[in-house]
């Protein structure tokens, strides 16, 4: 491992103090017997943008599901707002597919989180209109998902996540199915939407450039069983725009992470 990649077993003391999310030595074994996670420790501070980068099948998604409280750890502890939240407002989740209700129009899809918390369409109108304006879908209140492009559907999905003003935004490869231009545009926009809200973001991807562009910190995960094998700080201030992609520091981080990802992936290839 290179010197630029620090070990993550020792959590940064500052991060620990402000931690919004904390996983301590978490293992997860599924009913099938598969050991998905083998001792994962990480923390995410309030307002921090952290990306988990790893090869397919390394348990990246399982980490997000643990943070969301949708999956319980086999061993270890998970601390996150979703664990104690009774209202369902603390955490939002964006899946790889847009996961919209096909029978509801854009407005009603974005209304869903507030509706489940008992807000009427009328009460929620102002905030939904604002969020749809923000994601560039101000004209599409009454459009149905099937009429939208993949990128626009993903914008609706993110609008639905933002509308409840969560403390934690979890994103599981949200742009993996999109073409590269749409993905890059959404990366720029996502940072705009996230920046200025005190929301912690956890983003899962296997795309190195995306990880570097978006995050303050990148955690590299290895497979079988999944664990964090490297951590890289991206100390570029926000707002970041397209020019960051040409900067030497961007390319340098990409190289570092590609190497780390390569090492992490080859671990999984060895016979056990």
């Amino acid at each position: 491992m290179t010197t630029r990649v620090s070990s993550v077993i020792e959590l940064d003391d500052v991060a620990r103090e402000l931690a919004m999310i904390e996983l301590n030595h978490v293992t997860k074994r599924f009913d099938s017997g598969l050991l998905a996670l083998g001792g994962v420790s990480l923390s995410v501070a309030q307002g921090e943008f952290v990306t988990i980068l790893g090869p397919s099948g390394c348990g990246k998604s399982t980490v997000l599901k643990l943070v969301a409280g949708l999956v319980m750890p086999t061993e270890g502890t998970v601390v996150s707002p979703a664990q104690t939240d009774q209202t369902g407002r603390s955490t939002a989740y964006v899946f790889q597919e847009p996961t919209l209700l096909p029978w509801a129009n854009v407005f009603d899809n974005v209304w869903l989180p507030l509706r489940l918390q008992g807000q009427s369409r009328f009460d929620a109108n102002v905030v939904i209109t604002r969020v749809l304006e923000q994601v560039g879908l101000g004209e599409f209140h009454h459009t149905y998902p099937a009429q939208l492009s993949g990128g626009m559907k993903m914008r609706v999905s993110i609008a639905r996540a933002l509308v409840s003003q969560p403390q934690v935004l979890l994103m599981d490869e949200p742009f993996a199915a999109l073409d590269d231009i749409t993905r890059q545009r959404l990366n720029v926009d996502l940072l705009k939407w996230w920046h200025g809200q005190s929301m912690s973001a956890m983003f899962v991807t296997h795309n190195v450039a995306e990880a570097v562009f978006l995050s303050q910190r990148v955690l590299v995960m290895g497979a079988r069983p999944g664990k964090v094998v490297a951590e890289v700080q991206i100390e570029q201030p926000y707002p970041r725009d397209v020019s960051f992609r040409q900067a030497p520091v961007f390319i340098h981080h990409c190289q570092t992470l590609t190497k780390a990802l390569d090492e992490a992936s080859s671990v999984g290839m060895q016979p056990r």
């Binding site: 969301a68 209202t87 899946f95 209700l101 096909p102 029978w103 489940l116 149905y144 099937a146």
Partner: protein
């Protein structure tokens, strides 16, 4: 295009009826063998009072059976969806009910059930409920797992999950089942009545057909048949219209 859609089938129908009429007239076929379409219409008008009452009886059985099939199918499907072990226990029974020819079961039903109307209703129901049941079970199963997770994350109540996720997800499947069941409930109602062979006032079109056949009133048989066909087509059109209305956002753009 639109004009052709209506014009072509109409032209074919008219041509067929005209050919039939001319053939009967030209070959001098007696009415008790093959009545001309005009004779069928005359018979329909002449026997209207007895046929209309029977038609209403058959419609009542058909629609009640369809209504009960919707209710029963959805209820049983919900139980199956909630409890897989119940489904494993009872699904074979539903299949047995489905595959047994209703003509063979109807005589037994008539023995065990005193009221003929109830027996007819049960027969029609048995034929009609299965497509609704199996489709709704598939519909309730095919709910997006991520959406279920999302509802859990937002702390949705069981009632919200049913009303806002499960029911609308299963709706297209349910409606596809209802469209099949609509035709089947008419078939079930007529078949059972054929077997029952009941005479008297409170009987359906099948009894009129049997009765007319005993008296070799062939034009009346055709008239009753015409009403049955019209009923079947009407049920189909109404269900098609309803399902198109209910699924307007989902089906037209995918």
């Amino acid at each position: 295009m639109k004009l052709g859609n209506i014009f072509l089938p109409t032209a074919v129908c008219v041509a067929l009826l005209l050919g039939w009429e001319l053939f009967v007239w030209w070959a001098e076929v007696p009415a008790y063998t093959l009545p001309a379409p005009s004779a069928v219409i005359q018979s329909l008008v002449a026997n209207w009072s007895s046929l209309a009452g029977s038609w209403w009886f058959t419609v009542k059985i058909t629609l009640s059976a369809l209504g009960l099939a919707c209710l029963g199918g959805v209820l049983i499907a919900s139980v199956f969806a909630l409890s897989p072990s119940t489904e494993r226990a009872l699904f074979p029974l539903a299949v047995v009910l489905q595959v047994t020819p209703i003509v063979a079961v109807a005589p037994l039903m008539l023995i065990y059930i005193e009221s003929t109307m109830a027996a007819l209703l049960l027969c029609a129901w048995i034929v009609a409920f299965f497509p609704i049941l199996s489709n709704t079970v598939i519909g309730l199963r095919s709910i997006d797992k991520n959406l279920l997770d999302l509802f859990r994350l937002y702390r949705a109540t069981p009632w919200q999950r049913l009303a806002l996720l499960r029911a609308p997800s299963a709706l297209p499947y349910f409606l596809a089942g209802v469209k099949i069941s609509g035709g089947l409930s008419l078939i079930g109602a007529v078949t059972a009545e054929m077997v029952a062979g009941a005479a008297g006032r409170d009987t359906g079109l099948a009894s009129r057909i049997l009765e007319a056949s005993f008296r070799t009133e062939t034009p009346k048989m055709f008239a009753a048949l015409l009403l049955l066909v019209a009923t079947g087509v009407m049920v189909f059109l109404i269900l098609n219209f309803l399902s198109r209305k209910l699924l307007v956002q989902q089906s037209s753009f995918e």
